[in-house]
Symmetry: C2
């Protein structure tokens, strides 16, 4: 029987000893100085990041916009192959925020799961059930539904109330309920809004959250863990992109130290919590 995505996530977290997701968002204006003239700079930078963090990461999350803006799809493909070699325990999440009508969503799922071989992809729910369904069709692959995002404008529409319930909670209920029959749904819940995260965790004890917003965006780690950990002390993937990959100007030792520090800080809280229970 195929292992569902929820089970794969747990396994990846255990193998890496933590909840860390490393965001591979190589902004061309911030590349490490020594890679400026490299022939495939995004791939070279990603290889460095993966080498430095291979035993620390439960997941890697390349943001496809940084590759497609540069016409660097081949470097993204090669980066994902490199992750498979060097960090076979880690999941690959394609951060693409896709969503479209049925036959187009099928093509996008093909892009994420077949072309790039990703284990999961972020999806935008605004167009409704049939726009998400093609991403849910494979139990071993995850659909990570935008719920309460980390950006300043997140509340513009996500917080609007429908009969007293904010839209993001209506979407969470649909995603964690009707859409999660194959146990392969996660929600995107930003670290910058711990109160909203706590409400979501209370309503949905078992659904895992992908958490952007730690680091450069200003999210607080302690507040995030207090709000989002599930009853087993897991249920989160904590993403950090800029604070890890540009540490020390993008030097390997600094990258490793930043990822290790994040994992350690998370594990200290999880350990203390387990000891209390």
């Amino acid at each position: 029987m195929t292992e569902n995505f929820a089970a794969r996530l747990l396994r990846a977290q255990r193998a890496s000893g933590g909840l860390v997701c490393v965001g591979l968002d190589p902004d061309p204006s911030k590349m490490p100085a020594d890679l400026a003239g490299a022939p495939q700079p995004l791939l070279a930078f990603n290889r460095r990041i993966v080498d430095a963090t291979a035993d620390l990461a439960a997941a890697y999350k390349p943001q496809i916009a940084f590759y497609s803006a540069q016409g660097a799809e081949a470097e993204l493909e090669a980066s994902i192959r490199y992750i498979r070699e060097r960090a076979p325990q880690a999941l690959v999440i394609l951060d693409a925020k896709r969503g479209d009508i049925g036959n187009t969503a099928v093509a996008y799922a093909h892009e994420a799961f077949d072309r790039y071989g990703a284990d999961a992809v972020t999806v935008n729910p605004y167009m409704g059930a049939d726009s998400v369904e093609p991403f849910l069709a494979r139990p071993e692959r995850g659909a990570i539904v935008l719920c309460r995002t980390s950006n300043p404008g997140a509340g513009d529409f996500q917080d609007l109330r429908i009969d007293g319930t904010p839209l993001y909670r209506v979407i969470a209920a649909r995603a964690a309920g009707a859409w999660n029959g194959r146990r392969n749904v996660m929600l995107v819940v930003g670290a910058t809004y711990p109160r909203e995260m706590a409400a979501l965790r209370a309503a949905h004890p078992e659904i895992p959250f992908l958490v952007p917003g730690i680091g450069a965006q200003g999210g607080d780690l302690a507040a995030t863990l207090a709000a989002g950990l599930d009853a087993t002390g897991a249920g989160l993937l904590i993403n950090s992109s800029r604070a890890i990959i540009y540490a020390g100007g993008g030097a390997a030792t600094a990258i490793r130290a930043a990822a290790g520090e994040l994992r350690g800080a998370i594990e200290a809280v999880r350990g203390a919590r387990a000891a209390l229970q």
Copy 2:
């Protein structure tokens, strides 16, 4: 002074004698038989479509998913260059439904406007103002905001009521208001929901709509025109993809006939309406 996108749209419509947008959605399972073995089949098919419709189309709308699923970004780039040569009056709309946090949205805008040179791009508003802003920054380029889409699940969230007002109308008000300071916003409003389109037109007399859903999706043209034309008899771009490009199995004469028939049917209604005024 730079011509804003709204003015460019009007000019493209006048130059083409109509409101037709041709969707370039080359599904590999439906390619014309004679192009099956072509070296760059998507480009070859698009060249045929553009040759057959160059004087009939106000806009072309490639759906990027069909290219990215195949690793065919180079064929999309070449197709857009070909449109510029053969149909210089036509706008190019990249149908990508992008939307992400600030620095990522900047990368997506770079993808659409600089890499592909598109005149406009479809964007998903769920993440709020800052996720859309980078697409609005260039007055001559358009941001086409998903509002009330054409698919079966469109109503799942778009119709939820906030103090009595459906979400899609809340989004329309924001997009047509605060976001449209540069006169470069359009709304996606599906032909399959003419009642909702009529409500939007009443609320927003001047904002242009991009209308998917005619043809294969079952939208009714007469109902769409009655609901969506603005006071000047314009204000719409009517997209048809499958019903045009697969006409007669994808033969050039059938493609031209289908596009011409759509333009003619639209112009008959516009002409009758102008005569009545």
